[in-house]
Symmetry: C2
Subunit: 224 residues, 2 copies
Amino acid sequence: VSALRATGQTSPRERYRAQIRDEIKAVALHQLAEVGPAGVSVNAIGKELGVSGPALYRYFASRDELLTELVVDSYTDQTAALRSAAAKVPGPPSRSALEALARAYRQWAINNPHRYRLLFAPPLPGYDAHAERLVQAAQASMQLLLEALPPTDGAIHPSEALGAQATAWLKARGLSSDSSTALRAVQTWSRLHGFVSLEIAGNFAAMGFDPGALFDLELSSLGR
Amino acid sequence: VSALRATGQTSPRERYRAQIRDEIKAVALHQLAEVGPAGVSVNAIGKELGVSGPALYRYFASRDELLTELVVDSYTDQTAALRSAAAKVPGPPSRSALEALARAYRQWAINNPHRYRLLFAPPLPGYDAHAERLVQAAQASMQLLLEALPPTDGAIHPSEALGAQATAWLKARGLSSDSSTALRAVQTWSRLHGFVSLEIAGNFAAMGFDPGALFDLELSSLGR
DNA sequence: TGTACATCAGTGAACGCGCGTTCACTGATGTAC
DNA sequence: TGTACATCAGTGAACGCGCGTTCACTGATGTAC
């Protein structure tokens, strides 16, 4: 074993463990989709896997740890999806880069509605790990938006104080953008979130609107 | 008693019951704020009221009925707040009417963050009464927005299909507005929701921004 | 290659807990004569 | 005004349930000689 470890390889047992962990998480996500975060239960996951409940404790120290991992994975996945979309439109900020990013943002939420909700709604009351994670996820979205947002002809007129806050935010993260672009990024993110969360809640569909068409409409005005 | 009933008055006992019901709901809301919808418990409410758990069954048939009532009340309250704000800026649609409405929307959410979440997040998995209620609440917001949105010089270019959907939506509700105003109302509502839900989740504050100043910025571009 | 041993995944019983809800009851409040 | 009766708010014990988690165990898998 130590020889394998030294060469950076993983033992069969370790691979097996990793695989089971993934299966558990997959079933947990499936349950999340069906009964909501509060309803995810260790024993029910075991049952769906054809295994006793306590067996899961070989893989996760507690139910909380499992849930936390779902949140962390969601955050990682979303960021990866956004990064990958941004990478497909290289070069300086542009309309098409922004649109690609916005579409990827929406698409990830559509593909993973329960995980999107997980990112924005604390799954447990007083869930410590969550607040930080959410801020991180927001940072990633924000940073990518900053790099995609093209200059605009329309002006933005923030108060002095707000401009200073934006500058401070940029500085704290070592970003070289200007404060007005930062504020447009916040606004764009806020609008995207509004649209996407209403869409995955089914509101547009319930009103008889085609969400995709509505999104195109919103997209054309984003960042302006 | 029957004499009182006939005159439309309520007996002391009925008034007492109504008062206790309100107290129960108040405590339930308080719990909702602290432990989330899933954590609201009949026995805990009783304890906080200095009363045994089963006592509440004199006032509510079940825990579900109590929760449903919280949702219904939230819906009613929000609509009333918006209507009252709209009533303060009478006359034809105008910028100031729109801004008053938007500010009222935000303010209600800030004053009632847990109830705002209740409106947009199903408190229970598979909660039937919720979907309809949410649609109703949305309708109310939408209708008031329609009556407040002034014409814009900037054009909106929906697809034909989307325009038809908007027209159909208006017609189904007997509203006399035009489809492009309807679409701008949807867009405004979506943006408001995005901003407000990020704000009550504490995202702007976590980034070091003054939410009020950010809102003013967003407000100036709403409905354009 | 074959045997002795260690590792460790999974089991099933058991724990304490809090939940929603029912039920038979007590006692205070309000009604009717 | 005083008494007999009905109403009904609230109690406390009890129910069945599912939860997260622990524990001693069995048996298969992998390791070392």
